[in-house]
């Protein structure tokens, strides 16, 4: 039986708080953890499939033009080579998140350096890889492709534009004003597991094991690309070795494997090389951002300007939503916000770890530090003074607002000194030491979701949905939610994810997984409780379930009368989205040291205080925050995609040369969770967590660098060469 619930009103009943099992929110370890660390959890490429052929993609060596001739004969006689696939249906870039339709197809038309143009299939991986390198390809190059966002044609993203009042005038009238321009470099998702797919046809039915974040959308994307019915496709993604946005949409290997398997009549596996993952999946756009802040003498904002330039391929709709939280984080009645997209021929720009705020907040929050200094106000205080009552543009109320609490609690826990701040005050040997802080904000996302819950007479339950767990803890929290609602220890709740044979979940992305699918499980469990309550002869809201029995001792098994009780929960976000601005908030505090000689920066300690609704599992929630803070160290100090200025190819395309933070870069991190109940966010009062932890943290580090050594930098990442360029001897 299906149960539909559309949330049109905030749910402040906080029903989960009244349940008796007492497992929700507890720091339960990830249920699949042991399987993962013992190597028994299969990732996409690891399914044993008999008679599987191996495919390797061939990628372009020009930025724009056509592959006019593919000389299949050049490789078909090589040992083991089975086929060269250059089907027009091959996709040439990854689909954007929630695209729901095929990304660009037609491999002959080249739009960026490194674009897939064919697939070579052989008996062994090594044979396929060798042949792929040998495949003769002739191009007609269309020279002069724009490669540099600074000089390319731009388009305004009109729905992002805000013009309110007169910012120029506010800047002129301001007691303190700041007009600064920041840049951020492009980022790669850098998930550990490379993109991979095994495709197998049985008649007209296709099964694909792949590494994907959003099966619900991916199945439509794949069906559209192949021109087959969705009903004939099964996608399986039980374990995903990190996605960070790069697996939101189907990528090139999925369609290639399916087409090859069809043509050869046998299963085909395609695994991207690390270089290909970097070169033909997704990048976060580089950005240039101008911040204008106008304030009265006490630091109250009267004007707020944020203009950003990002880039993408011609025809791509996605534009890094840099301004997302700038629209509502601080007040200021005179506002100008604008987002421009430059059309350039680099690989697709798309969602990479907290698209928008991950690039926008480092600029905004560094500019706030400049303002705090100019106005002579403690940076924490400056932010406290500028928290708006309601959304300063749309006028909507906030569903909840924890920024002030996070700022205060974080400052306390960190030992923030609110006294006067001057740079270059503390020196230990070669090192300048300083502190900095920044606000965190990340819009709350939520999506339609379905999950089936089966309660069994033996006192166990089963949760089924095509939702994915990309390493975040989804398996675990769903067991906790169902366990809490049904009075079962989480160990007795089996969770089966990542299979489109199950009801459709929202997928993992935009931090919406837990609130969305959690709500679907909640809806299903609530319906089961109603049924049980009826059988037990009490009202549902009085039904107390614990350890498989009601409070008056009736066993669940007896109430079920020997039969499974199955409910499919269907959660749908309602009009509530039009009534509230919902966001996670937080605050970062960092202490860094900067080497006076070499300009190297090391983070000594960092603390994040975050408010994101209900904590479903204290351990996995904290881990998400730790991961987010770690990424913000990357944004601040090390991560940068480098493109060749002449042909636009991505130069640093492996994990040795694209620098994500390593263990030694990550100091003791502290997380303070500011628990709250946000009834408008979801019926389980939870919001997204994962991305919030990296939205602004880079600015706390940048501000600390300035406080330490007096180097005010406007370009991320703040590598030694950049620090040195503005540091006196």
């Amino acid at each position: 039986m299906k149960v539909h619930f559309k949330q049109d009103e905030p749910d402040n009943a906080n029903r989960l708080d009244g349940m008796k099992q007492d497992v929700l929110g507890k720091p339960v370890s990830r249920v699949e953890g042991l399987a993962k660390v013992t190597g028994t959890a299969p990732y996409a490429a690891e399914y044993p499939v008999a008679n599987c052929a191996e495919g390797v993609l061939v990628t372009s060596t020009i930025a724009r033009g056509d592959a006019t001739h593919i000389d299949k004969d050049s490789v078909l006689s090589m040992p083991g080579v089975l086929a060269v696939i250059d089907d027009e249906r091959l996709t040439t870039r990854a689909a954007q998140g929630t695209a729901n339709e095929a990304p660009k197809q037609g491999p002959r038309q080249v739009c960026y350096w490194g674009q897939p143009i064919a697939l070579v299939v052989a008996e062994s991986f090594e044979q396929a890889r060798d042949a792929a390198k040998h495949l003769g390809v002739e191009y007609r190059e269309e020279g002069g492709a724009p490669l540099d966002p600074a000089s390319a044609e731009t388009e305004e993203q009109e729905d992002e534009t805000v013009r309110q009042g007169d910012l120029a005038q506010a800047m002129r009238d301001a007691a303190h004003s700041v007009d600064v321009t920041y840049t951020t470099k492009g980022h790669a998702s850098a998930a550990m597991e490379p993109h991979a797919a095994i495709a197998e046809w049985e008649g007209d039915r296709l099964t694909v094991h792949a590494s994907l974040q959003m099966l619900n959308y991916n199945i439509s994307e794949l069906a559209d690309a192949l021109g087959v019915e969705e009903e004939n496709i099964r996608l399986v993604s039980r374990f995903v070795g990190g996605g960070f946005g790069s697996k939101l949409g189907i990528s090139e290997e999925v369609v290639a494997a399916a087409l090859a398997a069809r043509e050869l009549g046998r299963p085909v596996r395609v695994v991207l090389s690390r270089q290909q993952v970097f070169q033909c999946i997704m990048r976060r756009s580089e950005t240039t951002q101008r911040l204008r802040l106008a304030a009265t003498s006490d630091g109250t904002l009267t004007g707020f300007g944020h203009e950003a330039l990002v880039s993408n391929l011609p025809g791509e709709e996605f534009a890094e939503p840099v301004l997302q939280s700038s629209h509502f984080l601080y007040g200021g009645e005179n506002r100008e916000l604008m987002l421009m997209v430059a059309r350039i021929h680099r690989m697709t720009a798309g969602s990479v770890r907290a698209p928008g705020e991950a690039a926008g907040m480092p600029a905004l929050e560094a500019a706030m530090d400049v303002l705090a200094e100019k106005a002579g106000i403690d940076p924490v205080e400056l932010r406290l003074r500028n928290i708006p009552e309601k959304n300063p543009e749309e006028g909507l109320p906030f569903s909840s607002h924890t920024l002030a609490q996070c700022l205060k609690q974080g400052a306390d826990a960190f030992g923030w000194d609110s006294g006067p701040r001057r740079p270059r005050q503390r020196r230990e040997g070669e090192w300048w030491i300083g502190t900095g802080m920044a606000s965190a904000a990340r819009v709350h996302n939520i999506a339609e979701a379905r999950a089936r819950v089966t309660l069994r007479p033996d006192g166990t339950a089963l949760v089924e949905t095509d939702m994915t767990d990309i390493g975040t803890g989804t398996y675990t929290i769903l067991a906790q939610i169902a366990g809490e609602m049904l009075g079962l220890p989480p160990k007795t709740v089996m969770v089966d994810l990542g299979d489109t044979a199950h009801p459709r979940g929202p997928g993992s992305g935009g931090s919406w997984g837990a609130p969305s699918i959690g709500s679907a499980v909640y809806v299903a469990c609530k319906a089961i409780r109603e049924e049980l309550a009826a059988k037990a002869g009490v009202a549902e809201d009085r039904l107390e379930l614990k350890k498989g029995a009601t409070s008056d001792g009736q066993e669940i098994g007896d109430l079920l009368g020997g039969k499974d009780l199955v409910r499919e929960g269907h959660y749908e976000p309602g009009d509530i989205e039009d009534d509230y601005t919902a966001s996670g908030f937080g605050a970062f505090f960092a202490e860094v040291r900067v080497n006076a000689y070499t300009g190297e920066t090391r983070v000594d300690r960092m603390l994040g205080a975050f408010g994101f609704g209900r904590v479903l599992n204290a351990k996995t929630a904290r881990s998400q925050c730790l991961g987010g803070i770690t990424w913000s160290i990357g944004v601040a100090l090390t991560e940068a995609l480098e493109f060749d200025p002449r042909d636009g190819h991505l130069v640093n395309c492996d994990l040795a040369e694209y620098h994500v933070p390593v263990h030694r870069d990550v100091p003791d991190l502290e997380v303070a969770m500011v628990e709250e109940r946000d009834g408008a966010a979801s019926p389980i009062q939870a919001k997204g967590i994962g991305e919030l932890g990296m939205c602004g943290g880079a600015a706390a580090i940048a501000n600390a660098i300035y406080n330490a050594c007096g180097a005010r930098l406007f370009d991320y990442p703040m590598t030694p060469d950049r620090v040195l360029s503005v540091t006196a001897d």
Partner: protein
């Protein structure tokens, strides 16, 4: 990766003859060679595995120095009690490189022969004179942040990327080479060569020559430092690195053996530096003079211009620290 024939070299002599042909290569830990073979930057048809040859010893030499077997791993070398006690600059340099996992596999011989990390060298769809003579240098006018500022040529501006050899250069170590004709010893400072017009030549090894070991002269004591400046605190190649062995007596330098990584196609050693420092009292002015000598012919290529001031400042830091430690 191309198909290749793999032979376990049963003896040094056979290792020599196995690697004498132009399409043959030696393999030790494989941490560099296999990566390059997967990318088809290296395409040997035959591999001679050296791992059964012995040469994994680390032992005292008659003159009180130390012999490091070519097949001893970087980890074994860095943790060896004598290396730690008598040649701390070497232990520090090795531990500043790569990761523990890589160092467990990487051998001393392979480390000396590791290839440059130039992005254009490792991408076979880009021009590179080192990989494909005459195809041009992709790094010049390209992304050259990691590239050399000393001893470059119009043909190639790549760096030798390793750390261990920088310490070996400061220590004035000797490379033991066994060849088809005779065995020979090559001072480490002369082992690697500048790119000139033949950037594909990186060291003096001839075809069929195998490194069997490295000898360190008797310990000299002093303050021994290895400073590696890098973009992240581990698992990154040096922007600039300095190995320093310094002694001070009566307030004046009596020894200043310095070698530099990240600046050139080889570990950089300039005898004029020691000449300028020895006999002088440490001071900022003196350090500047030393930096002037080091960087006299330095040339940036845009992206790596910063290495010139960075090398100067790092030299200041190292000499300052050495002076303080020695005092």
């Amino acid at each position: 990766m191309r198909p290749f024939e793999f032979t376990r070299a049963p003896s040094l002599k056979e290792a020599g003859s196995l690697t004498a042909a132009s399409d043959s290569m030696a393999i030790a830990g494989g941490t560099n060679l296999l990566d390059l073979m997967k990318l088809q930057v290296e395409t040997p048809s035959r591999l001679a595995d050296l791992n059964r040859l012995g040469f994994a010893q680390i032992e005292d030499t008659d003159d009180g120095g130390l012999l490091l077997g070519a097949l001893a791993t970087n980890t074994e070398t860095a943790v060896h009690p004598r290396v730690r006690r008598d040649y701390p600059v070497l232990a520090r340099a090795i531990l500043a490189g790569a990761t523990q996992q890589l160092r467990n596999k990487a051998t001393n011989g392979g480390n000396l022969c590791q290839r440059t990390r130039c992005f254009y060298f490792t991408n076979i769809d880009q021009p590179c004179n080192k990989r494909e003579p005459g195809s041009g240098c992709g790094a010049i006018d390209g992304i050259a942040k990691l590239h050399a500022i000393l001893g470059t040529s119009d043909q190639c501006i790549a760096t030798y990327p390793g750390d261990m050899a920088v310490a070996l250069s400061a220590l004035d170590a000797t490379v033991l080479v066994s060849g088809p004709g005779t065995d020979r010893s090559v001072p480490l400072r002369e082992f690697h060569v500048l790119p000139g017009d033949t950037p594909w030549v990186e060291n003096v090894l001839e075809r069929g020559e195998i490194i069997t070991g490295i000898t360190l002269p008797p310990p000299v004591g002093g303050t021994q430092l290895y400073r590696k400046v890098r973009e992240r605190s581990s698992y990154a190649f040096a922007l600039v690195s300095i190995a320093a062995i310094v002694e001070i007596a009566d307030g004046k330098f009596t020894r200043a053996d310095l070698a530099f990584g990240g600046l050139a196609h080889k570990p950089w050693h300039d005898p004029h530096l020691a000449d300028a420092l020895v006999g002088q009292a440490p001071s900022r002015e003196l350090f500047d003079t030393a930096a002037d000598i080091l960087l006299e012919d330095a040339r940036g290529y845009g992206e790596n211009d910063f290495k010139i001031p960075l090398a100067r400042r790092t030299l200041h830091a190292v000499l300052q620290q050495a002076a303080e430690d020695a005092a």
